[in-house]
């Protein structure tokens, strides 16, 4: 097992390299580069002068160099911990990520914890009370949750919040707190702003967890070993929670592997709709503007989390299920 884990960890590096090369190539694929898109945007804002510094700008950003040279230079510096600068924000990529990672994780971890914390017990309840009134009610709610995208819910909540409080609760902080040090008032302000995105994403998240849990548990409850457990006088509560639920966790744990990357890469559209200062919004903009070093760094981060997450999920599965052995 230790050997297997070591092999998987070692395999992460070449995989990441491939992901990065591919990511770079995709960003280079469209016509033009960051400078072209910058000039077009400036032109749109009425700045016709920008076109005149096109070549200078390209040279300044080293965009006149061939792609492989830029890639290799950046990667060499990346290996030493220097992720490069963002073209558009004119700041080191490291600072941008550092500034946003805290709030991003706060929202996504809260969302994750709540949707799994509610979803699993509700799924179990739903399965153990199959076709009862409460199960039918929960199933209906689930379908609504799965059917409506979270950004649409976020928009609806935004309007609702505005109608109720008269405030437009976009972002994660009110303007007056933006550059303030942390205080209780600032924390409360943050919590107030978190309600809308967390609620919106939790609804779809919970719906998914519930649906998976209910389906798998029903599957397990129909199996022979459940009858054996009941026949030997094991209390129903133990039959469900110790045996049936443990046997139903496979797909959820497999999904846990994706969740790690989802923490900085999930609910992107909701982030944009609500103007949240998260990594997702930066990543999308960087990709649109061909801000390659910023986008490339975030891509590597996401790739790394996917690989680590999958490895963790595989280890947990092997630990939980004696039938799974990696040799």
């Amino acid at each position: 097992m230790a050997k297997y884990i070591l092999r998987r960890v070692v395999a992460i590096l070449p995989t990441l390299l491939l992901i990065t090369i591919f990511g770079f190539l995709v960003m280079e694929a469209p016509e033009g580069d960051y400078v072209t898109s910058y000039i077009i945007r400036e032109y749109g804002h009425g700045n016709t002068e920008a076109a005149r510094i096109e070549d200078q700008l390209r040279e300044f950003l080293a965009l006149d160099r061939p792609v492989y040279e830029r890639f290799v230079t950046w990667l060499a510096r990346f290996a030493q911990g220097d992720f490069g600068d963002s073209f558009d924000l004119r700041r080191p990529v490291r600072d941008i990520i550092n500034n946003r990672i805290g709030l991003t994780l706060t929202i996504s971890l809260a969302t994750f914890a709540i949707s799994w914390g509610i979803g699993i017990p509700l799924g179990v309840y739903s399965a153990t009370h199959q076709y009862s009134k409460s199960d039918n009610f929960l199933t209906t709610v689930t379908f609504v949750g799965l059917g409506l995208p979270d950004f649409l819910l976020a928009l609806a909540f935004l309007i609702l919040g505005w109608q109720l409080t008269g405030e437009v609760l976009t972002g994660l902080q009110s303007v007056e707190f933006l550059d303030q040090p942390w205080s209780l008032a600032k924390l409360l302000d943050l919590l107030k702003h978190m309600v809308i995105p967390v609620c919106a994403v939790v609804i779809t998240g919970t719906a998914w967890v519930m649906r998976v849990m209910r389906g798998n548990l029903l599957d397990q409850l129909g199996k022979d070993y459940i009858v054996t457990l009941r026949a030997k006088g094991v209390p129903e509560r133990v039959v469900i929670w110790k045996h049936a639920v443990k046997n139903s966790l496979h797909p959820l744990i497999a999904a846990l592997g994706q969740t790690l990357a989802w923490l900085i890469n999930g609910f992107t559209i909701t982030s944009i709709v609500l103007e949240l200062p998260t990594i997702q919004t930066v990543y999308l903009n960087a990709t649109l503007q061909q801000d390659v070093y910023l986008a490339g760094t975030i891509l590597i981060l996401i790739g790394f989390l996917v690989l680590i997450g999958t490895l963790l999920a595989d280890i947990i599965l092997a630990w939980m299920d004696p039938r799974i052995r990696y040799e």
Binding site: D224, V227, T228, A231, K232, G233, V234, M320, D321, P322
Partner: protein, 351 residues
């Protein structure tokens, strides 16, 4: 000896351990009501073996599940009584009157009435060790420590002739063969020394050699522990080896009931006779084909009127068998049959 038995003196014991009277277990499906068990009466003698014989879908397994109240919706016991004379020995207690989820019934399951099943491959939880699962049965019924339960588990595995029981206890079900898993199931079922073991086709999924070993083992353990066995099977050979009393079931009803010798020497119901004739006999020269019962088992959703066997019966009497339902009547001492060929006073239940 289990604590229950030691409290009871031999004199006030009811001769039967279990009496099923007119049991009706129906399944309320969307396509209609399926009367899987429809008026079954059976008795299991203390320490004896009752064989329940029948082909797939005759309701023999549902009868077994009904005793432990393990029938799940849409199935439901709609009538009859299951009297168990284990604790309340004079009047017995009616298991159908208990709530299927009650603590009372839970204490009965596994401790007094245990069950083993047809599919040893899927009847154990794949995520827990064999030892853990046997100990679980012990810990929920006996006041012993975990260490003691572990010791009992090893002893039980040894008792079912499991090689290296102390190692097997740490293994997972998928590491064992079908025969070994069935031994684990038996060890688990007998770990609390139940008074009744319901064996639902325990050897059907096993190969013939393993089957012989398991049957042998069950007989030995029965002698040693003195429990009664209700042996459910479709296999006439297995019944002949295991049972003292036999009930033959067809479409949710008992059609013939007798001791084993009388049943094989003098099968009376046309269905039983047809079953006997359909066994190939070694050394007996036949001039052609093996006898088979004509037709198919009707769908349980459209059970024929009158005697349920009449469309396939070789001795069908027109305007009698398809109109009225025969009653189970004693034709000689200890031998009952439900057929108009043997009915003297004529059918009673108008269909």
């Amino acid at each position: 000896m289990p604590p229950i038995l030691s409290r009871i003196s031999v004199t006030d014991m009811h001769p039967n351990l279990l009496e099923i009277t007119d049991l009706r277990t129906h399944f309320f499906t969307e396509q209609g009501v399926v009367p899987a068990v429809d008026g079954v009466s059976l008795q299991v003698k203390r320490g004896g073996t009752l064989g329940v014989l029948g082909e797939s879908g005759c309701g023999k397994s549902v009868t077994g599940f009904s005793i432990l109240r393990l029938v799940r919706p849409p199935g439901e016991i709609v009538g009859g009584a299951i009297r168990y004379y284990g604790r309340e020995t004079v009047n017995g207690e009616d298991l159908t009157a208990l709530d299927a989820r009650s603590e009372e019934l839970r204490q009965l399951r596994g401790a007094e009435i245990a069950m083993i099943f047809q599919e040893p491959m899927t009847s154990l939880d794949p995520l827990f060790t064999v030892g853990n699962q046997i100990m679980e049965a012990i810990l929920y019924h006996q006041d012993v420590s975990k260490a003691e339960a572990g010791k009992i588990a090893v002893e039980m595995l040894d008792k079912v002739r499991m090689p290296q029981p102390a190692d097997v206890i740490k293994q997972y079900p998928h590491q064992l063969s079908g025969g070994m898993r069935q031994r684990v199931m038996i060890a688990m079922a007998l770990s609390c020394e139940p008074q009744l073991l319901i064996a639902d086709e325990p050897t059907t999924a096993l190969d013939v050699t393993t089957e012989a070993q398991i049957l042998e083992l069950m007989r030995e353990l029965q002698d040693e522990l003195g429990m009664a066995i209700m042996f459910i099977t479709h296999d006439l050979g297995v019944i002949a080896e295991m049972a003292e009393e036999v009930a033959v079931m067809y479409l949710g009803k008992v059609v013939e009931q007798s001791d084993i010798q009388s049943l094989f020497a003098d099968p009376q119901h046309p269905y039983t006779r047809a079953l006997m004739q359909s066994i190939p006999k070694i050394g007996q020269k036949t001039d052609g084909r093996l006898e088979a019962i004509r037709g198919m088992v009707p769908s349980p959703r459209s059970i024929p009127t009158g005697c349920p066997f009449h469309p396939r019966c070789a001795s069908f009497i027109a305007d009698v068998c398809n109109v009225r339902a025969p009653r189970l009547q004693e034709t000689k001492r200890g031998h009952s049959v439900s057929c108009f060929l043997y009915e003297d006073g004529g059918g009673v239940n108008e269909a």
